[in-house]
Subunit: 108 residues, 2 copies
């Protein structure tokens, strides 16, 4: 242990992506390519308000596209990952793997 | 895709542990067993105030022990993982691995 340690893997994580609910949203969107609001809400066990807030953060960061339309007569909202969102999720996975490796190498 | 999807891996993550800075604190403590406040602050690139706030959350949750004392004439604060903290970090890693597996299996 020195007085000037190397930057820790968590310093490479982006809070916009790493936050638990947003990481879930990005993961589901990555798997489904295009995901409906109500499905996502149920999958992640969220209120509509909470989900909307997180979607807004992700949209402002350019990580998802939001599309509004109709399925029959029902208003629907769909979202999909942008190329930036896909890269951001992959970067998160890269950093998480580094972190897991450190955890599993160190300590008992 | 059904109307009643299975609970998503992120629903099994604990925000107390998953939050980026706290995950860093727990990881460093896991690696070092007993870690000094100033070292941790430098390693994670935090202000003293920000680090103190996160340590307080972790201590209240019973995940770390905080010990105050002296090194020579200098006041020092050390922290170490409790057995609960160690288990919580291992649970986080288990959930993260499930999540990474889902991300790498789904999508492009």
């Amino acid at each position: 242990m020195t007085d000037q340690p190397e930057p820790h893997p968590v310093t490479g994580l982006d809070d916009v992506v790493h936050q638990r609910v947003r990481l879930g949203i990005l993961t589901v969107a990555h798997q489904a390519r295009r995901v409906e609001f109500g499905f996502l809400r149920t999958a992640l066990g969220l209120t509509a308000g909470n989900l909307s807030q997180h979607l807004s953060v992700l949209e402002k960061a350019g990580l998802i596209d939001i599309e509004k339309g109709y399925e029959g007569k029902r208003a629907r909202t769909w979202l999909s990952l942008t190329p930036s969102g896909d890269r951001a999720l992959k970067d998160e996975v890269t950093q998480l793997k580094r972190l897991i490796q450190q955890i599993e190498q160190g300590g008992s």
